[in-house]
């Protein structure tokens, strides 16, 4: 860990007035175990793309779960779109989440359904009920939007294929389409290319970054691939040994600068 701490001194964390996401002195722990991380603070501005990196166990996935409200922090605060998550009731949290698109490491699609049905599911928060359960019942507008989004990830011709017959990369692109079809303000992605071969991983990251950029959404993604972090993140936030060790614009960084986070 030679360079990364110096980078923290070198760059001031980016603070924009229109922050979509704000993490303030966050502390997370599971049960009586030592904290996964503590005193983590950063802000993500509207339309920014931020890569979150760190070694296994550094707390990247836990941090994303805190951002989604799945894990209640033991200290500090998370604010999304200006709302403090800790004060939200279940219904309010659900409404807030409807402005978020989420892409998991494993695509987490419903295996026996078609790609189009899975993308229609992305509209469920806005259009709850049986008509959004499968594409066959969906309103014309929902089907059109879902198909157009599949087209944007290059899979319109596979719309009626069951997702359990798709490759890993194709499945992850369907998951991206499901995440962005409701045009969320914020997209969170948890190592979206980790379970793919390098070529498929490149395609998935390119598609994710492009589609999110086109919609003007904010993107926060975790990755172990430092080239992906620098290529697709306008900023890189690094966790090391339970603390924030790096928060810097990516254009001034090289892969060698980030290796220290994994020492």
């Amino acid at each position: 860990m030679n360079v990364a701490p110096a980078r923290l001194d070198q760059y001031e964390p980016v603070k924009l007035q229109t922050a979509d996401l704000s993490v303030d002195r966050l502390l997370a722990r599971y049960g009586g175990h030592p904290p996964v991380f503590s005193d983590v603070s950063f802000t993500v501005g509207r339309g920014e793309a931020v890569a979150l990196i760190g070694a296994n166990g550094a707390g990247k996935s836990t941090l994303l779960k805190c951002l989604l409200g799945f894990v209640a922090p033991a200290g500090g605060a998370v604010s999304i779109f200006g709302s403090d998550l800790s004060g939200l009731r279940a219904g309010d949290l659900r409404r807030l989440r409807s402005g978020i698109g989420f892409v998991a490491q494993k695509h987490n699609l419903v295996p026996r359904l078609t790609a189009l049905s899975n993308v229609v599911h992305g509209l469920l928060a806005a259009r709850p009920g049986p008509r959004s359960w499968v594409q066959a019942l969906a309103p014309v507008d929902s089907r059109r939007r879902a198909l157009a989004t599949l087209d944007r990830v290059g899979l319109a011709d596979l719309a009626m294929r069951r997702v359990d017959s798709l490759s890993g990369g194709q499945s992850q692109r369907v998951a991206i389409a499901r995440a962005v079809v409701p045009e969320p303000r914020l997209v969170l992605a948890d190592e979206p290319a980790a379970s793919l071969d390098p070529a498929a991983g490149e395609v998935v990251m390119d598609v994710l970054a492009r589609v999110v950029r086109e919609t003007g959404a904010t993107l926060v993604f975790t990755t172990h691939n430092l080239a992906h972090a620098l290529a697709h993140g306008r900023r890189v936030v690094g966790l090391r040994e339970g603390t924030l060790a790096l928060d810097a614009p990516s254009h001034g960084l090289a892969i060698g600068d980030l290796r220290g986070l994994y020492d």
Binding site: L68, F70, R94, R95, L96, R97, S98, G99, I100, G101, F102, A104, K106, N108, L109, V110, P111, R112, L113, H121, G122, L124, A125, P128, G129, P130, S132, W133, V134, D164, A175, R178, A179, P182, P184, L188
Partner: protein
């Protein structure tokens, strides 16, 4: 070339069979004791079985050849039996879906509702279908409707439990991915959980149908419709040729339903 006797004995080689603990030995002995007690209590006797074989032979000789005299009316009764099984299974399986959703742990309901639903499923499942048939005969009178209701309740208990377990076992990832995007829990169940559990739903329902076909024969014995009543009458009247026809017809129906069920289950498990 080294012989097997030259192979040095490896230190720490595990024993092939572990010696049971005193408690395990006691439990094995207890299990064996219960088996012997049960055989004794039910009057198991090889000599009696051997002495009864001529009577069995007498039955078969008097039953052969089967009588086809009442084949048309017996066919109607067999069709009624099949209808009871199909209607009871489908109605029971449909009723079991909401029960399973409410009784599956950590899916939708709170502790009280969950306990209540599990209790209902347990009652449906633990009371034998013959008792349900007797109850429904009192409620709606003799005939196939009582039998169908009994099968429906029995199937609701059977499917309710296995559907709930299937939903508890599915990958949580798809449901969590949708919840992360603000989707209501009820929508995630119908979009992500039930489709993932559907193969288990279908195979369980097919097993329930096979079970229902066999049950619907027995239910006839208590007046709940179907071919079982015809079998009872034939046996009571010592009309063994007709009884043989009925037994062969039941055998044929059960084999056909089981073959269709097995074929359908294979297709479902193959992902169709």
């Amino acid at each position: 070339m080294a012989s097997t006797t030259d192979i040095p004995r490896q230190p720490g080689m595990p024993v092939r069979f572990e010696r049971p603990s005193a408690l395990a030995f006691l439990l094995y002995a207890l299990g064996l004791g219960v088996l012997v007690w049960s055989l004794d209590g039910t009057g198991w006797s090889v000599s009696e079985l051997a002495s009864g074989l001529p009577a069995l032979g007498d039955f078969f000789s008097r039953a052969w050849p089967p009588s086809l005299e009442r084949f048309p009316s017996l066919s109607s009764a067999l069709i009624e039996t099949f209808q009871m099984a199909v209607a009871g299974t489908v109605v029971g399986a449909l009723v079991s879906i909401p029960l399973a959703v409410l009784s599956a742990r950590k899916l939708l309901s709170g502790r009280v509702t969950n306990g209540l639903a599990r209790g209902i499923v347990a009652i449906f499942r633990t009371v034998p279908d013959l008792i349900w048939a007797l109850i429904f005969v009192i409620a709606v009178g003799l005939g196939p409707f009582a039998g169908t209701l009994a099968i429906a309740v029995d199937t609701a208990g059977f499917c309710g439990r296995f559907f709930a377990e299937a939903m508890e076992d599915v990958d949580k990832g798809p449901a969590e991915a949708l919840q992360a995007q603000g989707v209501r829990r009820i929508d995630t169940i119908f979009c992500a959980v039930i489709p993932a559990a559907m193969p288990a739903f279908i195979t369980t329902t097919l097993f329930a149908l096979e079970k229902a076909v066999r049950s619907s024969v027995v239910l006839g014995l208590v007046g709940a419709g179907g071919i079982g009543l015809e079998l009872k009458v034939a046996m009571d009247m010592f009309d063994y040729p007709t009884a043989a026809t009925i037994i062969l017809m039941i055998f044929g129906l059960v084999v056909i339903v089981e073959q269709i069920g097995a074929h359908s289950r294979t297709r479902v498990m193959d992902g169709h």
